[in-house]
Structures are given as structure tokens and as C-alpha cells.
Amino acid sequence: MFNVRSASLETKTETKTETKTATKPFTKLTCLTAILLSSTGAVQAANTLSIESWRSDDANIWSDVIIPAFNKSHPDTKVNFAPTPPTEYNSALQAKLKAGSAGDLITCRPFDTALDLYKDGHLANLNPLKGLEQFSDVAKSAWVTDDGKDQFCMPVASVLHGFVYNKEIFAELNLSVPKTRDEFFKTLETIKSESRYIPLAMGTADQWEAATMGFQNIGPNHWKGEKGRKALLSGEEKLTDPAYVDTFKELAQWKPYLGRGFEAQKYSDSQNLFTLSRAAIYPAGSWDIQTFNNQADFEFGAFPPPVAKAGETCYISDHTDMGIGINASSTNKEAAQVFLNWMASKEFATLYANEVPGFFPLSDHQINIKDPVAQEFMSWRQQCESTIRNSYQILSRGTPNLENQLWNVSAQVINGTMTPEAAAKEVQSGLKQWYKPQQ
């Protein structure tokens, strides 16, 4: 019941500093293991690929489903999926890369962590890779240099945002899925006045939900997705512009529809309120689907963040979470490229999306997903424009950190302890302090 996304990121930053200080004394040891490993590597066939990953949860899926599928078309290449637990991944990978004992394929975290690896020369440039044609620029944005020229990892999976709702409660109260903001708030009002259910299952105790499931979920409709995100990066738009203030205003309107004492409600509380049928709507990340499939005994559906007027273009947060790259010092780059090209195929996308529901392939292929709610989430990519969380690329490199500030002010706006205007002003002045284009 732990949030995959924030858990993985939290450890990312922690382990990073650890490695800086910790690698030195271990160099001798890692060199030794490197020698040992390379000597065993020499015995193996030339066409053996080893994949470094933090998804130890998926180890069985790789060995039972994905690798056998790859071997059907490429029987000569042996693939070995070698995951490290998520909390140790970054530091273990750093040490292995330095010692030269890392696998041929490296699973990449989004943005700065992977970018640092590329800058240090650990990841190969993927520009010539054919498979990359299958991905949109948004999908690739997490693993490209700041100038947009060099691609160093190929996108693998993303998580989507939207709202999950309890179909039984909706049927009981004769509600239909809201499409516009007015309808959304009318629905919330009906649930509040005509039933004992909590309209919206979210709390602000953990703070990140307010930003991730709140601000980044409904925001793209206000700032027009990628257009707004890029304008923020270039400095054309400011966080004090109406788009952002309006996002905060909409968030502030959620307050009356949250459960009593939502200020002390944690992420797992929100999940439980929803799976126990005490709440009707849940602002969701697609990774919640697996939890709900296991715990909820009612039927649930999903709808994208409502737009201002019916028929308007909708924007969804389609956040890039996982990529894969080639170890720059791999002796087996050709086979690695073959494998990456296969990972860009429709076959891989279909396999992955169905085995790990809630983590969506990023390629442009039309694929069939069996899980109905995951399918619903996925279908929005056809109707809406995709964007990623606006604080993730570049904008969270400095101090104060935009992502952390967004957590804080979003929670305060929902709590009613800060006005939307003040929230926008605070994040803008924070960003202005260190980000040149915003000065």
C-alpha cells in the first residue's frame, strides 16, 4: 500500500548523496568484484545481455513472459534480468558503473538522475536508434539533454493521472460521469447533500497527494499541457499567471467535499476510504489500479480531469517514470540495440501493459489492454493531449525546490490556510531565486 512513485523518488535522492561519500572506500572491493564478474562474463556467450533495474517486483514477469517472448524472435540472444531493490538501486548502479561491472542495459530514472549518468559518460547516446521513432517528444523528454539534442534512454513506462470513481455509488445516486468542471462540482455537491458518502477521498497530511493528485492532475487543463510547461521553462509564462492561480482556485474548491479531518488523512487512509466504499471519487494515479483491483469488491471506473467547457481539448498528466539505456562501456552494444528496438515494438508494449497494469507503455502503438480501468486511462491518450508534471524537468534543480514547494502550497491551499494568489506568488518567488529565465 505504499506509493511506488514517491517511494522510488525518495530513495533516489537519498542514495545519491550516499554514493558520493560511500563509493571511495568501496572502490577496491568493487574493482575486485568487477574483475571476478568480467572473468565469468568472458566465459559466457557473446550474446548475453544483462539488464539493471529497480523493479524487483517484476522479476517473474520478465523471466516468465517478456524474455521468452523476445527469444521467440531472437533465439540467439540470452537476456538476464538482474534487479536490485529500489532503495539500493541508485547507489549500487553508481558503484557498478564506476567499477565497470554494470549490465549492458540500464533502467533509467527520469530526468536529473539519469542525466547525471549520461553526463558522467556512463550511458551511450541513443540518437541513431531506430526504435526511438515510435515515441513522441513528450515521452522522450525525461531522458534527453537540456538542449533536446541527445537521447540517452528509451522511454519504457509512464503513469497517468485522473479520477477513479465507485460505479455502484454513482448508480445509486443516479450520477453520470462529469465532463466539465461545473458538472464535476455538481456531482460532488449531489454526493455530499444526498448521501452519507464522502465525495472526494483525499487528505493533505502527506502533502504530496495535494500536489500530485491535485495540482498536477487538474492543472494541465488550465495551462494547456505542454504549451504551458514549455512556456514556464522558457520564462514566457510565470507561475503567477491566471492559469496557475486558477488551478489553485479550483483546488481550494475541493475542501468542502473532502472527508472530516482530511488535514490528518494520509495516502493509505484515502485508499482505504475508497476501497471500503466510504468515498465516491478518488483523485488517482494509475499505479493505484493494482491496489484497488486487490482490495475493492465493487466495480470502479475512471474519468479524466474535467475541462472548463464541453468539447474543449483536454490535457492529461502522462508522467514518464521509467526508461532504458545502454551502458556506454558495454561490450555487447549491437545486441543491446536489437533488444531496445524490440522493446519499442508493439509486442513488448502489449505484454508490459497487461502484466503490470497502471504502468503504461510510452510508444505510439495502438495496443489492447485487458484491465478495463487501465484501458480507460489509456484511452485518454487518444482524446486528450499528454503532458508531464511541470516541476520535474529542470525546474526542481535549485533551492528552494519547486516540487517540494508545490507540495507545501497545494496542501495549504486545500487546507484553506493560504489563498490561491499567495500560493502562486510563493512558488514564483521561489523559482525566481535561482532560475535565470524566470528572473
Partner: protein, 311 residues
């Protein structure tokens, strides 16, 4: 008889001291003194693009004068003083009262009470945090119904989620956990007071309150002073409870941020924020200095004036 000869005949080098103290000293130096000195040195450096260079006191100046840092720093320090004040005003008096009650000769089952009150001290802070969050939860908790049953229902609120009450609530949870320590220390001292003195006061006509006030309290003052300084050091190093309950961002709006959580965020980074070892070391150094000054003031103004009694 030359004087130098006499000198030579003096004691041989005390090897046994090296033998017995050496290992302890070595461990202490390697794992305590060296890291501390290294932290002090690290706080004088700055790192940029993997290169670190000497910047003198710049990190401290940034920490105290730059708005981005100073706001968080003063806020954390202020919260730390509130946290400490609540412990001094609540934990230690309650510990004292409990100790006095426990040492009453007529009390039955005193051993059981002692164990029960001391028990939370030995539990993991993560469990404490989890249990209290459940108890106080507005959604699942039992505290709301409990308050209703004694007619105080309207005062219930999401205490852990409100800026105005989160820190105080956490301080109370910490008090609940650690009240056993002052209780045990004071209790042990009370038991050491010879019966003759107490008997003499009774013979002189003092009632039990007068006996406590004029005889026992002065005798346990050194212990209370020691308890206070232990509380001070522990509170200014506090971190785990806040981290377990509120996370490293110490919400809402940093209202529960202590020096410990501030240090953690700075040194290790949090979420997308990258950690900074040198700024973190600067925060750690300031924490060390604050504790050092506190302890020194205590030694200078209080410890020297305390009279110890030999029984």
C-alpha cells in the same frame, strides 16, 4: 644518591591504562570524534559540479541571512524551543509526580505501574507514531468517541493535521513515550534518601507535603537538573518521531519542522531536491553549537550551585 636516579625509580608507564582504556578510546575517536571534526571541516566547504572548495563561514552566513535558508532555519529552531519547553513543563513535572507516588511505601502494585509507564520508552518510535496516528485519526481513531463519551466531543479536531496543533500534539506524544526516564531517575534518587532523615522530619512534626517540599525535593534537585539537561540534548537532536509521522517536509507548512528534520532535508535531499553535504554539515554544526552552548550555560550557572549531599 642523585636526584635523577630517584626520578627513574618512580612508577613505570601505566600500560594497564592503555590496555583497558585504549579500545574504548579508539572506538570513540574513530566513530564519534573524527566524524564530528570532519563535519565541522565539511561545513566550511562548498560543492559545485562535484568540485568542493573552501569558502570559510559562507555556508553559515547563507544559512542565517539568506531568506531561502534563514526562514526555514529560524522556524526550525523556534519549533525546537517550543518542543523543549513542552517537555520541560509537562514531561518532567509528571515524571516527578509519578516518581513520588511510586515511592510511597503504601502503594500496592508499584512494580507493575513502574513497568507499564516505562514500557513506551522501549518501543520503536515508528510504532509509537503509527499507533498515535491511528488513535488520533479523525477517520478511524477512537479518540473522538472517547471525547464524546466524557462530554468533550466538540473539542475534537484533526490535531495532527492543523498548523496550530500539530507540533504540540507531537510533543505530547513524545512526552508520553519518554516520561518513564525522568520517573525512573528521580525514583531511584528518592529511594536513596535515608529513612532517618525522613523519620526525623516526621518527629519534628512535618506533614507529608512539608516533608516532600523541605526534605526530599532539595535532595533530588541534582537529579532534576540532570534530567533537564538530558531532555535538552535529546530534544535538540529529535528527529525520528517527526519523520515517522509527518515525513521530511514536516507539514503542514513546516509547522512541525525541527532542527533534525531540517538537517535531514538539507543533507540527504528530499524527493526531487538534491542533498547538499556541505550545507547539511553547516546545519549539523549549528545544532552541535546550540547544544554545546546550552550545556555550557547549564554547567556554569546551575551545576556549580547545586549542592550534593553525602548520606
Amino acid at each position: 644518591m642523585k636526584p635523577s636516579n630517584q626520578h627513574d625509580e618512580k612508577k613505570p608507564f601505566p600500560w594497564h591504562l592503555v590496555f583497558f582504556l585504549g579500545p574504548g578510546l579508539l572506538i570513540y575517536v574513530v566513530f564519534s570524534v573524527y566524524p564530528l571534526l570532519d563535519t565541522l571541516v565539511l561545513s566550511l566547504y562548498n560543492e559545485q559540479q562535484g568540485q568542493s572548495h573552501f569558502v570559510g563561514l559562507q555556508n553559515f552566513i547563507t544559512l542565517i541571512t539568506d531568506d531561502t535558508w534563514s526562514q526555514a532555519f529560524w522556524n526550525a529552531l523556534g519549533n525546537n524551543f517550543t518542543f523543549f519547553a513542552i517537555h520541560m513543563l509537562v514531561q518532567n513535572p509528571i515524571g516527578l509526580i509519578l516518581a513520588v507516588l511510586l515511592s510511597a511505601p503504601k502503594l500496592r502494585l508499584s512494580g507493575t505501574y513502574r513497568t507499564l509507564i516505562f514500557m513506551p520508552t522501549m518501543l520503536s518510535v515508528v510504532i509509537i507514531g503509527f499507533v498515535w496516528q491511528l488513535l488520533l485519526s479523525p477517520i478511524w481513531g477512537i479518540s473522538e468517541n472517547f471525547l464524546y463519551s466524557i462530554g468533550l466531543g466538540q473539542y475534537f479536531d484533526a490535531w495532527l493535521g492543523k498548523e496550530s496543533s500539530a507540533l504540540i500534539t507531537l510533543a505530547f506524544i513524545s512526552v508520553w513515550q519518554f516520561v518513564g526516564i525522568p520517573m525512573m531517575l528521580i525514583y531511584a534518587t528518592l529511594l536513596n534518601i535515608p529513612d532517618d532523615i525522613v523519620d526525623a522530619s516526621v518527629v519534628d512534626g512535618a506533614n507529608s507535603f512539608q516533608t516532600f517540599w523541605h526534605i526530599k525535593l532539595p535532595l533530588i534537585l541534582p537529579t532534576i537538573a540532570m534530567v533537564s539537561i538530558l531532555t535538552f540534548v535529546a530534544n535538540f537532536n529529535a528527529f525520528e518521531l517527526i519523520y515517522a509521522v509527518k515525513g521530511a517536509l514536516a507539514g503542514p507548512d513546516f509547522s512541525t519542522d525541527l532542527m533534525g528534520t531540517f538537517f535531514y532535508r538539507t543533507f540527504f535531499g528530499f524527493q526531487l531536491q538534491q542533498g547538499s553535504a556541505s550545507m547539511g554539515a553547516a546545519v549539523a554544526t549549528l545544532m552541535f553549537l546550540i547544544i554545546l552552548v546550552g550545556v555550557m550555560l547549564f554547567l556554569f550557572f546551575i551545576q556549580r550551585r547545586i549542592q550534593r549531599f553525602q548520606f
